[in-house]
């Protein structure tokens, strides 16, 4: 019951607003915000819902293909649902302030409702096809929201890029689903798949088991997560997605949607655990993403971009954790606990709060500085916007992993998983990333908030209105306390059991914190411009440029060539050549009708002779 309210309320809200926003006008905003609040309340009840797996609505039911809208209620979905509806509600409220002067407010809120609907769908999805459906729909809402200011060319390009990059991921996701669909006799229900992998026809000792298949399926599914969670090499869309309004960045491109990839990977962890190779690759990709993104973040000057790369990096962390946990499980390191826990999900949970807050904080800053986003044009905001500063600072240290804030616990869990995976590289890279995280976040805080205002807009900045401050404050509280049992238990966070004896991990994370923060303070205190300049990082390892070349060569140039070939050969051989032959024959046969009587008599006589010759001499010889 609650599940259907949570799912359908935003759907109808979105439908109503998107189709009738002209008529609704201001009411559209109320509908959207109202529905988000009601969903949140319903979600509080949902937290207490029993584990369940039931069909909500039919969709396609033909033969083996039984793809309905069915909900899978367990700890993971309850916890995730809370994050989504809670942050969703706060972002709705924040947007009331942030988008106050926007002409297209109804459209914005409509798309936001659409997003809430689709994200809820992903969270509740009980089978992979349903998950794919909502997977695509979050892509759509993300597209609409990034392109909210479509008049700006950069926004228009960014939303297109986001959608297309995600499409590439979905390409793999769908293949993965199809492989599982075929192999498991048409059943892609998550519960049933898990059973099939543990004791069903897909278990490793079953007859006809194919390790290659399992790896392929796992990697294909993973490709979906690569797209959605912006992992290397499909990470390029996320920084550009910052073209959308900042609340959107907070909700979609930091806290929830991009985390959907991780959520989904944890959902299919049975599959990843079944394939050592896939687990290693996943961990490796996560690790590379975390590290690369952190490196890129150190040289960004746009406040939202820093946060975006940070998000990338943290998502990489989570994905690495997924892989690492699976690797650990393959080595027999299964943490025994009554309650299911997962470092990736736990990090997702804490990260959602502080990263959403950071984004909203940056939103408040941008709002205050009249849409100035360059941190070097800010400075000294601490005095003008104290609440924003303090919440931002809390978020920063939480992200850096300062004990005992929530980020510390989850980061330690992730590093612990990397440590347990048995791969030193993962652990070292993870630690290095932690160093860099501390470094760039401290840099951000120092440059944007401390020191003196460097421009007029920073000078005249004033604190944001209440509707924007309030969500910040609430999120700040969660950033601090969410990792403690007092919150994490009722909120059904998948906190992994704390394993004693991980001294190395603890030290590593603390040292990383100190080194990174110290380095940043040393380098950036009181600076008016960036003392470090590393082109490679600033230009994001030239990924965009490389991809531009690939697209130009592999797509546009290829399209040009193929179009030419199609016109010349296909059209030429199949259509124009026969047409030309027939036309030539027509002209030739027409020559027979020259109008000369002698020619006709000749042909007639010749015809007679030919016919007689044929009938009397040739045909009898042929035998039939």
């Amino acid at each position: 019951m609650h599940a259907s309210i949570i799912l359908l309320l935003p759907f109808f809200s979105a439908l109503l607003i998107l189709l009738g926003h002209r008529q609704l006008k201001g009411a559209a905003v109320l509908i959207s915000v109202g529905s988000s609040i009601i969903s949140f309340v319903a979600c509080l009840f949902f937290l207490a819902a029993d584990d369940d797996n039931k069909l909500l609505l039919p969709f396609i039911e033909v033969g083996q293909l039984q793809a309905g809208i069915d909900v899978l209620i367990d700890k993971q979905s309850r916890g995730m649902m809370f994050i989504v509806s809670f942050i969703g509600m706060l972002v709705h409220i924040f947007s009331l302030g942030y988008m106050k002067d926007d002409d297209a407010k109804p459209r914005f809120f409509g798309a936001l409702s659409l997003f809430m609907f689709s994200m809820t769908g992903i969270v509740l999805a009980g089978n992979l096809i349903m998950m794919f459906i909502f997977w695509e729909l979050v892509g759509l809402s993300s597209y609409l929201l990034i392109g909210h200011w479509y008049q700006k060319a950069s926004a228009a390009e960014a939303c297109k890029k986001a959608f297309l990059t995600n499409r590439i991921g979905d390409f793999g996701f769908m293949i993965g689903i199809l492989l599982l669909f075929g192999a498991n006799g048409g059943n892609v229900n998550l519960d049933d798949l898990a059973t099939a992998f543990s004791s069903g026809p897909l278990r490793p000792d079953a007859p006809g088991y194919s390790a290659g298949f399992t790896t392929a399926a796992a990697l294909c599914i993973f490709l979906g997560a690569v797209g959605k969670s912006a992992q290397f090499p499909l990470h390029v869309w996320l920084p550009d997605a910052m073209e959308g309004p900042t609340p959107v960045s907070a909700l979609i491109h930091a806290a929830t949607m991009v985390a959907a990839g991780v959520y989904m990977l944890v959902r299919v962890s049975f599959l990843i655990t079944a394939s050592p190779l896939a687990a290693e690759i996943i961990a490796g990709i996560g690790c590379v993403t975390a590290l690369l993104a952190a490196l890129m973040a150190t040289q960004q000057n746009d406040i939202k971009r820093v946060l975006a790369y940070s998000t990338l990096s943290q998502l990489g962390y989570m994905v690495m954790a997924v892989g690492a946990v699976a690797m650990a499980a393959q080595h027999g390191h299964v943490p025994h606990a009554a309650e299911p826990g997962h470092p990736a999900m736990f990090h997702l949970y804490t990260h959602a709060f502080f990263k959403a807050m950071l984004f909203l904080g940056s939103g408040a800053v941008i709002y205050a500085c009249h849409h100035e986003q360059d941190i070097w044009k800010m400075g000294g905001l601490r005095k003008h916007m104290p609440v924003t500063f303090w919440t931002f600072a809390i978020g920063t240290v939480a992200l850096m992993g300062l004990p005992p804030l929530s980020g510390f616990w989850s980061k330690e869990a992730v590093l612990g998983a990397a440590y347990d995976s048995g791969s030193n590289i993962l652990f070292h890279a993870g630690t290095l990333t932690a160093v860099l995280t501390s470094f760039y976040m401290t840099r951000l805080l120092i440059v944007a908030f401390l020191g003196k205002p460097r421009t007029d807009s920073a000078h005249h900045a004033t604190e944001a209105p209440m509707v924007m401050i309030l969500p910040l404050a609430i999120l700040a509280l969660f950033s601090i306390f969410s990792a403690f049992d007092i919150l994490s238990t009722p909120l059904q966070a998948m906190k992994p059991p704390h394993v004693e004896g991980h001294q190395t991990v603890l030290f590593a994370s603390l040292i990383a914190l100190i080194v990174g923060a110290g380095g940043a303070i040393y380098l950036y205190r009181g600076k008016d411009k960036d003392p470090v300049s590393i082109k490679l990082f600033a230009n994001k390892f030239y990924f965009d440029e490389i991809y531009a070349v690939i697209v130009r060569v592999c797509q546009d140039r290829l399209a040009w060539i193929v179009t030419g070939l199609e016109r010349v050969f296909v059209d030429g051989l199949v259509a124009r050549l026969p047409a030309a032959i027939v036309a030539r024959l027509g002209a030739a046969t027409r020559m027979l009708q020259g109008g000369h009587l002698q020619g006709y008599t000749f042909l007639l006589g010749g015809g007679v002779i030919a016919v007689v010759y044929l009938v009397v001499f040739v045909l009898p010889r042929l035998g039939h």
Binding site: L585, G586, A587, L592, L597, Y600, T601, L604, V615, V616
Partner: protein
């Protein structure tokens, strides 16, 4: 009443009209035409009520004259086409008289009656002598008809070409008859069939005779490679005569071909395989040689001539498919069916052409431009006619083609089928080209065309016939079904 009496009466009427014109020169052509039309119509009515079996004939006629369903059908067919041609002549008279001596048209009303009698006779022929005589009656009359508009250089040229080539084919035909007689020792179709089924008969002589005979007949039905005269003669001849040639003369040729082939391809015939192969080759070639040169035609009349050749190809292919146990119609029946559906299409097409001429317009495709604006009804009727000629379904033209395709596929003659398909595909081009011209906006500034009520109704009936036969061919099949039984019994 005996059918023979009707034929004799019709011939008499033709002669009387000829004499009346000669001795009473001031008689109006309208009177003459209406008399001829009335006579033909009466004959048609009488035919329905006449005695319909061979036994009703005088016994001396029975060896060379028969009255099976096929014969009766073709007799009716001949009367209908003659009726239409006479009416068409009347319609085109004001234009035609400009090219005739003294503006007289008498022969144009009397000779068609003679031709009609010849065709009716041919339908009943049981031996080669009768065939020859009836055929020549038709052919010689046509020499006159084709060249009738003597003041027109085109008509005269067509007449000369038809005369020379027709006479040449007559020679070949007779020579073929001679050799068939030599090989089989008989002139009657029954006897020939019997002799050919006898392995002792000389195969080479029979083959030689049959080939020559088929060449001669091939000329009449415009089979390739004896089709060269068709475009020139059709284009040059007065439009009613062209329609008559295209439908009547061709039908007459095919009825003889049907009879002859029934004999040649009889069960156990020593020359069956060769003749059948020849028919397939000639049929395919005809369909192609009719269709391909038409692609570049600019004269609609000439286009219809090529179309007529192409249709002859399909008909030959239908004849090549013998013994289709799977449908009720024999190949002869299919040919009759095809010709019956072909009649309204062609006549409607030539009617349109004649009306264009009567309104002082040309016969080129460009003259058709904007017809839809000038006279929407005529454009629609012509569209129906041309679509049907192209073989579009839901029109009569399609059913016949379907039968041909069915027969070819049933026998596994895939090569011939491919040729037929190519020819039909090319056909789409030139028929649609004419249709397109009628609807273009160019030429819409020309004056509107007006049609008399009689014209409208005749054309309307023809168009309706095309459509009705296209969706409800059952009655026609009913008429023809006993015919096929009669053929099968033989």
């Amino acid at each position: 009443m005996s059918v023979f009496t009707i034929e004799a009466g019709l011939a008499l009427l033709g002669l009387v009209l000829l004499l009346v014109e000669a001795f009473k020169p001031d008689i109006s052509r309208r009177t003459l035409g209406l008399t001829a039309i009335a006579g033909t119509a009466l004959a048609l009515v009488l035919l329905v009520f006449a005695k319909h079996d061979t036994a009703s004939l005088p016994s001396f006629m029975q060896p060379w004259h028969q009255l099976d369903t096929l014969a009766l059908f073709y007799k009716g067919f001949a009367l209908v086409i003659t009726l239409l041609v006479l009416w068409l002549t009347l319609e085109c008279a004001p234009y035609l008289t400009r090219f005739t001596v003294d503006g007289k048209l008498a022969e144009m009303f009397s000779l068609p009656l003679i031709v009609c009698v010849g065709m009716m006779w041919m339908a009943s022929a049981r031996d080669l002598v009768t065939v020859f005589v009836a055929l020549e009656l038709v052919t010689v009359s046509f020499y006159v008809l084709v060249a009738f508009a003597r003041k027109s250089a085109f008509s005269l040229e067509a007449g000369v070409k038809y005369l020379i080539l027709g006479a040449l084919s007559t020679g070949i035909l007779v020579y073929g008859i001679a050799w068939i007689y030599g090989a089989t020792g008989t002139m009657s179709f029954d006897g020939i069939a019997k002799a050919l089924a006898n392995p002792a008969t000389s195969k080479t002589a029979a083959l030689f005779g049959a080939a020559m005979l088929l060449c001669g007949l091939g000329f009449k039905v415009a089979a390739a490679p004896f089709h060269m005269w068709v475009p020139d003669v059709y284009q040059g001849a007065p439009t009613p005569v062209t329609a008559f040639l295209s439908v009547g003369s061709k039908a007459a040729g095919f009825v003889v071909l049907t009879r002859a082939l029934d004999a040649f391809l009889v069960e156990g015939s020593i020359i069956a395989t060769e003749i059948q192969a020849l028919l397939l080759v000639v049929g395919s070639l005809t369909a192609l040689l009719g269709s391909l040169p038409a692609i570049f035609q600019t004269s609609v009349k000439r286009l219809l001539a090529y179309s007529s050749i192409s249709h002859a190809g399909y008909l030959l292919l239908a004849l090549a498919c013998r013994d289709s146990a799977r449908f009720d119609l024999s190949s002869g029946g299919i040919v009759a069916f095809y010709l019956a559906t072909y009649l309204p299409l062609t006549v409607l097409g030539f009617l349109g052409l004649g009306l264009m001429r009567a309104n002082g317009l040309g016969e080129d495709i460009k003259d058709f431009a904007g017809l839809a604006k000038r006279n929407p009804l005529l454009a629609l009727l012509m569209t129906i006619s041309f679509a049907s000629l192209a073989g579009l379904p839901l029109t009569a033209g399609f059913i016949g083609k379907l039968f041909v395709f069915l027969g070819l596929a049933d026998h596994g003659y895939w090569g011939a089928l491919s040729c037929a398909v190519i020819a039909a595909a090319a056909g789409f081009y030139y028929y649609f080209k004419t249709i397109l011209a009628m609807y273009t906006s160019e030429g819409t500034d020309s004056p509107a065309l007006t049609l008399s009520t009689a014209t409208k109704s005749v054309a309307g009936v023809l168009a309706l016939t095309i459509l009705i036969l296209g969706v409800y061919p059952k009655p026609l099949q009913k008429v023809l079904t006993p015919a096929s039984e009669a053929v099968a019994v033989k």
